[in-house]
């Protein structure tokens, strides 16, 4: 038996009420909110956080492959999956691959994970997305940011892979050239009537025919839809009742592109019962329809924060101006400060365990935990008596803090906290996704993987603190 053995998700803390877009441009907007990646988040960081959510109770050395699916990889040339593998602290002898350029990348990566599981590999399939629509356009309203992750393997399977049907057609409805930031589309009737409705129907009918199952057999259909309206129409036409249709998260998160159906799958698994059949249907240059059957093992699965947890943890006060600033869609006055120096790649590489896996060291002589790693103990000065010590996941509290109004930031003021870890170790770092008025000495925090800055198109990633949920 192969299938899903764990799942996790991530939704950024900040949500933009679509009404704010109407406040700015006047045109009617759909109701609800869209999740907005913070200025220091991207598809990699959100994907990494979803993968950590998925692996909360997992020995990371059991991971044999990491696949990352997105249409918004931060680099055109440089793999994202290897970064996420570093954050997960996997072994080095694993497979990694990015699945890019198609809204179907998420389901393609899951299917690749299923194939790998058949060969006995435990695959972490991660998908994260951070797409942009033109300002005042419909896609700006539709798109939201988020991520999901699944561990796929052949032991302790909680959702067994039953079968799938894939359709691939060179259908050109949405596109974004490699020097562009915003998604284009052909006129909507063509996209829906000739593309979406056709391919989704073909893949669903194909997999039902292969398996002999009928719509009534399914607990949920997870059906991609650019809006709930199109999703509902085609689901009904295919014979599914509204109660079977998994909510698309449009009102809380928005359409998360390649991560959209995977995030809905994570939501469905949070509510699933043993023996439920789940039909996941993606869309993009065709469609993948994949059937899972939930097993008794699901009751033994201990989730992390989960999609629901992250959706509930939110701040909705951001206005449209802040959204424009975070996505660097408006030119704001630079701070009168020296230009940031780029990261040294040799130093970054030497420090990869610290920077990605968030490792410090512990002195074998005196037991003092310290960060960043160094060869000489700060406490007893023993030399070369250090062992690796992973600080990620350790409970942590704010020892003292300040709120800095001077520091250059896309979201001032900047909270700087001295974070002390249970068992030892101290880090002075930024505290984000937190209202400055809510910071207290002693408050519990956890670490979140973030994009720190980009200079010479080198993206520097590291950890910041966030309030513990």
């Amino acid at each position: 038996m192969v299938g899903i053995i764990g799942f996790g998700a991530y939704v950024p803390y900040n949500r933009l009420k679509r009404a704010h877009i109407k406040d700015t441009f006047g045109a009617p907007v759909p109701k609800g909110e869209k999740a907005v990646a913070n200025y220091d988040e991207d598809s990699i960081t959100m994907g990494a956080m979803a993968a950590l959510d998925c692996s909360a109770h997992l020995d990371s050395t059991s991971i044999d492959a990491v696949y990352f699916a997105t249409t918004t990889a931060p680099y055109k040339e440089k793999q994202s999956a290897a970064t996420i593998a570093g954050v997960l602290d996997t072994r080095l002898n694993i497979r990694t691959a990015d699945f890019c350029d198609s809204l179907r990348a998420g389901s393609s990566a899951i299917l690749a994970g299923v194939d790998a599981a058949r060969q006995g590999l435990n695959t972490m399939v991660v998908t994260g997305e951070c797409r942009l629509g033109y300002s005042a356009g419909s896609y700006e309203n539709h798109f939201g940011d988020g991520a999901a992750a699944f561990l796929i393997g052949n032991k302790q399977v909680i959702a067994e892979y039953i079968d799938s049907c894939s359709i691939a057609v060179d259908f050109h409805d949405l596109w974004r050239a490699d020097n562009e930031r915003f998604v284009h589309s052909w006129e909507e009737r063509f996209c829906i009537s000739q593309g979406y409705n056709q391919f989704v129907s073909e893949s669903v009918q194909g997999v039902l025919k292969k398996t002999g199952l009928s719509p009534a057999d399914f607990g949920k259909i997870i059906l991609y839809g650019i809006t709930p309206r199109y999703q509902g129409q085609i689901a009904a036409k295919l014979g599914f009742s509204p109660s079977q249709v998994q909510d698309s998260l449009y009102n809380q998160v928005g359409n998360t592109g390649a991560a959209s159906t995977p995030m809905m799958l994570a939501a469905a698994l949070e509510d699933a019962k043993p023996n439920d059949y789940i039909l996941m249907v993606s869309y993009g240059e065709g469609s993948d329809a994949v059937i899972f059957k939930v097993t008794d093992e699901i009751s033994n699965f201990s989730p992390g924060c989960g999609l629901k947890g992250y959706i509930e943890n939110k701040k909705v006060s951001m206005n449209y101006g802040k959204y424009l600033r975070w996505r660097e869609l408006i030119a704001t006055e630079p701070a009168k400060r020296p230009i940031q120096k780029r990261s040294s790649l040799p130093d970054m590489y030497r420090n990869r365990k610290k920077n990605l896996g968030f490792y410090g060291v512990c002195c074998k002589i005196c037991g003092t935990v310290q960060f960043p790693p160094s060869r000489i103990c700060i406490e007893c000065r023993a030399i070369d008596q250090m062992e690796d010590y992973r600080l990620y996941g350790k409970p942590a509290r704010v020892a003292t803090f300040t709120v800095d109004y001077l520091a250059e930031s896309l979201d001032p003021p900047t909270i700087v906290a001295v974070v002390d870890f249970e068992g030892g170790g101290r880090l002075i770092c930024y505290l984000v996704d937190c209202d400055p008025d809510d910071v207290k000495v002693g408050m519990e925090v956890k670490m979140s993987f973030r994009h720190i800055f980009t200079v010479d198109s080198i993206r520097t990633y590291f950890w910041k603190a966030v309030p513990k949920l």
Binding site: S343, M348, T402, Y405, Y430, T460
Partner: protein, 393 residues
């Protein structure tokens, strides 16, 4: 066994420019201004100086930044950089130059031209590194002290703000009497308390200025000093401590001290033979880069008992007419902070006070002056403490 250099080096002349936004002056102008005053004071010629220690944080590289401008022939010039402790460390090394017998007459000069950079705040040269750790602003590095101190000693944050404001108020009051100070105005307590927030709880009036300026000292061996003047200033002790960043990485550190200040102070007291600093020291110029820094310096230098510094500050013990005047010239807060020059500027106040040249802020017969110069942040810094006296012994 090393015995230190107590009374083995003596200052025979000092100079200091007006500190401030010196848009009219370049580094050469600033150095000439300080050196002219210093030479006239000492009664010697520039060419009489055998060697130079030139301290600057970011205003020039190598001894050449000095020798090219000052045309110091082919004499030795050491460029010294030890962050904001640069000035006092230049003096320390110059003292060793004469005490060792290597030279007869040396100059320590600190100069900084910050206002040509066009940035607000400081421009700190960065090492090549992965640059993952936060590049915090200077005020945020020191702001950590305030809530920690208040929490440890049972002050509420309103009281803490008042203590901080009292320190700024004092330094501005003193600086208002100093014609060379950058900011020469008394500031009412209520204005300090409501100044715009920079890094909580530090308002802009809790922060020192960004300045241009230069200061210098000519130093000889003590036995030669009387050849130049009857009233030299004797170096009693001068020590630095560079921290291992233990505080930054170890949870035992509680942000109410800078151990480097304590250790440098202890070493300087030992060298100078000071056993009761609160009583023996006549005046102190300390590194009040931010108001909470001055507060913990009171305790680290043992002017006050632990947890009592805030009471002494509120009681006026460190005022111009108090038991131990601190920053009688206005400090970094009011005099300004051209980094490389600041440590030497601190000694310049003792020089003026010893020679009865401090004008309206003149103290009554001061004998022992202290300078405290800090580079870095409270949890990882290099600190210099220098002690000077008007008499031998």
């Amino acid at each position: 066994m090393a015995k230190g250099i107590k009374d083995r080096a003596a200052v025979i002349g000092m100079g200091c420019t007006k500190f401030g936004e010196r848009y009219d002056s370049n580094l050469e102008d600033l150095m000439i201004e300080a050196i002219d005053e210093c030479l006239e004071d000492a009664g010697i010629e520039f060419n009489d100086i055998d060697a130079f220690w030139f301290g600057t944080f970011i205003s020039g590289m190598a001894g050449l930044a000095f020798s090219n401008r000052m045309k110091s022939h082919y004499k030795p010039v050491t460029r010294l950089e030890n962050m904001c402790c640069t000035g006092l460390d230049s003096v320390r090394n110059a003292c060793y130059g004469v005490a060792s017998g290597a030279y007869d007459v040396v100059m320590a000069i600190g100069a900084e031209k910050l206002k040509d950079g066009g940035y607000s705040g400081l421009e700190v040269p960065a090492e090549d590194s992965d640059r993952t750790l936060p590049d915090l602003t200077a005020p945020s590095r020191f702001a950590f002290i305030a809530p920690a101190y208040a929490h440890k000693y049972g002050l509420d944050m309103k009281q803490m703000k008042e203590v901080m404001a009292r320190i700024a108020w004092k330094n501005h009051k003193n600086g208002a009497l100093n014609p060379k100070a950058q900011y020469r105005a008394e500031v009412p307590m209520e204005n300090i308390l409501k100044s715009p927030m920079i890094s909580s709880p530090l308002g802009v009036m809790d922060c020192s200025g960004v300045s241009d300026g230069a200061a210098c000292a000519i130093i000889t061996r003590t036995e030669d000093a009387k050849k130049y003047r009857k009233d030299p200033m004797y170096v009693k002790g001068i020590q630095i401590a560079a921290g291992p960043a233990h505080s930054e990485k170890h949870q035992s550190y509680d942000f109410t001290t800078a151990f480097e200040t304590y250790y440098a102070g202890q070493a300087a007291y030992r060298e100078a033979g000071i056993t009761d600093p609160r009583k023996q020291i006549s005046m102190a110029e300390v590194h009040d880069c931010f108001t909470p820094t001055e507060l913990i310096i009171y305790e680290d230098l043992m002017f006050s008992e632990r947890g009592q510094g805030w009471k002494d500050a509120m009681d006026g013990f460190f005022d111009l007419d108090g038991g131990l005047p601190v920053n009688p010239d206005g400090g970094l807060k009011s005099f300004g902070h051209p980094i490389g020059a600041s440590g030497i500027r601190m000694l310049y106040e003792s020089w003026l006070q010893f020679h009865d040249k401090a004008g309206k802020r003149q103290l009554d017969n001061p004998k022992i002056g202290l300078a405290h110069n800090l580079g870095g942040q409270p949890y990882s810094c290099v600190v210099g403490v220098g002690i000077v006296g008007s008499e031998l012994g």
